[in-house]
Amino acid sequence: MTEILVFCETNEDQLDSTAGELLAAGQKLSSELSLPVSAVIFNPNPDMVLQAGSLGADKIYKVTDPKFQQKTDEIYTHGLFEACKQINPTVILAGKTTLGRNVAARTAYRLKSTVAQDCMDISGDKNSGLISVKRPVYGGNAQAVFTFTNPLNQVVILRVKTFEPLPLDKSKTAEEIDLVISMPEPKLKVIDIVKQEFEGVRLEDAAVIVGGGRGLGGPEAFVQLEELAKILNGAVGASRAVCDAGWLDHSYQIGLTGKTVTPDLYITIAISGASQHMAGCSASKNIVAINKDGDANIFKEASFGVVGDWEQILPSFTATARELTQS
């Protein structure tokens, strides 16, 4: 057994918010396996290195190459694979981000190892070095525990916001190692990148989300959801059915195949709470449900709810919320 390697993603000139979560998960495993936690950062700046150290990395591998400015699966898979070949980690942790999940999975197969994705918990056995993970399957209808069979290059992709980052400990510094990796020309050429303009609060960052389901009957209803979201300084989200029906575009979709959100308050209106949807919002601090079907699954997940017709409930809820928050 060697070490626990965390693939720390970066965002512009800082570490991605998932880095702290993964390092915290790494530290949990570290205490179980008695192994050090190391981080690999591609094109790091000194701030990122300091931050990774104070968030729990014992050792930091720095890989620098202009090719990593282009964030494609192909380039980062090559980078992570080559790093792992030099390090031979016992465990590799990555976050379930667009880049992280693809890069980690491909790295696992290239290493002739395997991967567990969308994990909600992780533990290690000290004697064998084998990792067990807990993950939802069947769209969240069931929960499975999987155990690896070989204690080398066990790749685990953790669901975002599953672990709380450790408090910053600025007195902690990590050992720094430069890794040299030769980068081939990529087979895929990026022609362009189009970023959608976004007004208001981003769904992923929102402290309050007002979400709507197919039970709203049509796209017009979302005007009322927008109004409530505005009063509460929140964002609007939707179920997959709403987005598939074309009422809103897919950037609004919350769920297993949409966005994972973790607001303080998630107000669901005419959302039944299918496992597929809950997979994207179950870590919300408070869920409030407005639904006409008292047996809907959402009431099992919500802390407060009203059973009835949303067209009657929502206007008076919004009006009262406006009075309360403006007073």
Partner: protein
């Protein structure tokens, strides 16, 4: 152009929760009585992508490839009814014992056996085990460039122009024809089979292969991860239901309650 689309037969994801039963001792989901399985949703999106590429080209062969144990032929023929040309089913009792790496090794051996494959298309993930990494394992095994979550695929002479979804936008890749692309619901609705398509599909019979036909070494089928527990999660279910004189009153009381709890 030869396109292979990997598809999977899964339990209907719209099976009501009351009919979703787990045998914890056997670590298996019991198929719901009277609810037939379906072709995995994203796999249908991948079939649609293949059909659109063939439509653009005016020629090409689409082969559907699937691995499983208990195929229901009426279900599995749907991609043929949609317009795919051929179907190969690897029907093998031992398939249910394979882990993801084993599945990847079987499917990649099968794709190698189908001659002159250009493009491989896969649904992003299956709604049963939600692994979402079988396509990536195939790309690695077959050493193909891999693009995930395609929004649009355009075939121009000797290359593909593919838009791939990002959390807040998309990026466009230029890829060689020999690539692997994953597709999900963002690609767009799969077409409905036409009556003509259904008639044509009824006359086609799938080729049935077994894992032994593929010459895979035993060690490539050994699991690298094992399922050690499977259960239905218990939800707390302690929702406080707010009831007023009528629905409008309930809405008002709900807002007051959330204020009292310092939630808004």
């Amino acid at each position: 152009m030869n396109i292979v689309v990997c598809v999977k037969q899964v339990m209907d994801p719209d099976t009501p929760i009351s009919a979703f039963i787990v045998d914890e001792a056997e670590k298996k989901v019991i198929p719901a009585q009277g609810i037939p399985p379906v072709v995995n949703g994203y796999c249908e999106n991948a079939v649609e992508a293949a059909l659109q590429i063939r439509d653009q080209q005016g020629e090409g062969t689409i082969t559907i490839l699937s691995l499983g144990t208990d195929f229901v032929m009426d279900v599995m023929k749907k991609p043929l009814s949609m317009g795919a040309d051929k179907m190969i089913l690897i029907q093998d009792e031992s398939a249910s014992n394979l882990d993801a790496s084993g599945i990847v090794n079987v499917l990649s051996a099968a794709i190698n056996k189908i001659s002159d494959v250009d493009l491989v298309l896969c649904g992003q993930q299956a709604s049963d085990w939600d692994n979402a990494h079988i396509p990536m394992g195939l790309a690695e095994n077959l050493e193909l460039p891999c693009i995930t979550s395609a929004l649009n695929i355009e075939h121009t002479e000797d290359k593909l122009i593919v838009q791939s979804a990002l959390p807040d936008g998309y990026q466009t890749f230029e890829a060689p024809l020999r690539s692997l692309i994953t597709v999900n619901n963002l690609f767009g609705e799969p077409r409905y089979p036409t009556l003509k398509g259904i008639m044509q599909a009824s006359r086609k019979s799938p080729e049935i292969w077994s894992i032994d036909d593929l010459g895979i070494s035993k060690s490539d089928l050994e699991p690298s991860i094992i399922l050690s527990e499977l259960k239905i999660p218990v939800s707390e279910g302690n929702c406080e239901i707010i009831e007023g004189e009528d629905d409008a009153d309930s809405g008002r009381l709900l807002a007051l309650k959330l204020r009292e709890e310092k939630i808004i």
